[in-house]
Symmetry: C2
Subunit: 212 residues, 2 copies
């Protein structure tokens, strides 16, 4: 029997720092991320909670240059559509944002969820099948935090058509696309979200909490 | 300009401990959780990433005993249906599991997502509207980790019908139900998931990683 760890006030302060300084990064240096570090982060990600202990997260490391180019093209297509749906000053401001680090990030990781895994034997998914996807989201989030603690940045790209991502990656499995991660060493660090620095949106001052 | 924090090896080890010892807790002591601690955890949850900086997480603290009783009844109804859908040894093993701490947890928190928030101005949700729900999942996960660092346990209950949860909480808003959290001081701590200790399922030895 292992003794449970005690987390002290000093650790909690650093954990709050980690939450506060985790960013969605779109500006990367191009030096590579060691393969053993990536492997370690993927193992850490698997410590995330999962519905029924189903561990439905599935990872695809995208290394082939042609596939990376196809995904960049898919992002550019979706981003152009998003821009075209906006008008006037809104469109002008949207056009100025850099919304992905696909051009420079040395490590590309696509995260999927098995929507109906055998593992876990269906527990907890009967009324809320979306909890399989939610489990994969928490694995991605765990990896994100662990990466930041190593000084690595991660940017989550969602401006993609899920079906086209699966096609570009030649996936036969009926996995649900969760998000495409650009991972690398950030060009700079900040406690303020990039979208706030760019004047797109501001954080809310207080959480929305109802009482019932 | 604030200096970015440096996270050292000692912090990363403790962070890994946190991931490893975060459990889905179903056995609680009944002593209360201080209200200011709950308020602090809710603020920390808001440091989670969100699509387009939309912060779509919405929290409902469930305090009324009649509403708590209605949610326990809804869990029991859904759990009985889940049991009825199983046969033989599978049903017998399912019946032996304790799948929620609704009977004893002193703090009940329902987490929702606004599926179409004005904040964030739609950025990043055009092809993947589910990223609003995913953002709320990461807020819940952030709260879970911060709670564990305080010695608190959290159990995520998904054996509920989302529409009935919203009705039981008299919510007018078109929010999407993400999960119902039981929060309190755990009766015991463990690094092994309860479903593994109970013989229901085992963790996988290695992550599923494809290369493309």
């Amino acid at each position: 029997m292992v003794t449970p760890p005690e987390f002290d006030g000093r650790f909690r302060e650093r954990l709050e720092d980690l939450f506060r300084w985790r960013r969605d990064v779109r500006h990367f240096r191009m030096d590579p991320v060691p393969a053993d570090l990536v492997a370690r982060l993927l193992r850490t990600a698997c410590l995330a909670p999962s519905v029924g202990l189903s561990e439905p997260w599935r990872f695809v490391l995208v290394e082939d240059e042609a596939r990376r180019a196809a995904l960049r093209a898919e992002f550019l297509r979706c981003n152009a559509e998003a821009l075209a749906s906006r008008e006037g000053e809104d469109a002008a401001r949207y056009a100025r944002l850099k919304l992905a680090g696909l051009d420079r990030a040395p490590c590309h990781l696509a995260v999927f969820a098995d929507p109906d895994p055998a593992q876990g034997r269906g527990l907890g998914r009967r009324t809320m099948p979306e909890t399989a996807a939610y489990s994969a989201v928490m694995a991605l989030h765990t990896l994100w935090l662990a990466a930041r603690a190593e000084g690595l940045g991660l940017g989550w790209v969602s401006i993609l058509d899920p079906a086209r991502v699966s096609a570009a990656l030649a996936l036969d499995e009926p996995w649900r696309f969760i998000g495409y991660c650009c991972i690398g060493w950030p060009e700079h660090e900040d406690a303020v979200p990039e979208l706030q620095r760019a004047g797109w949106e501001r954080r809310r001052a207080e959480p929305v909490v109802l009482r019932r």
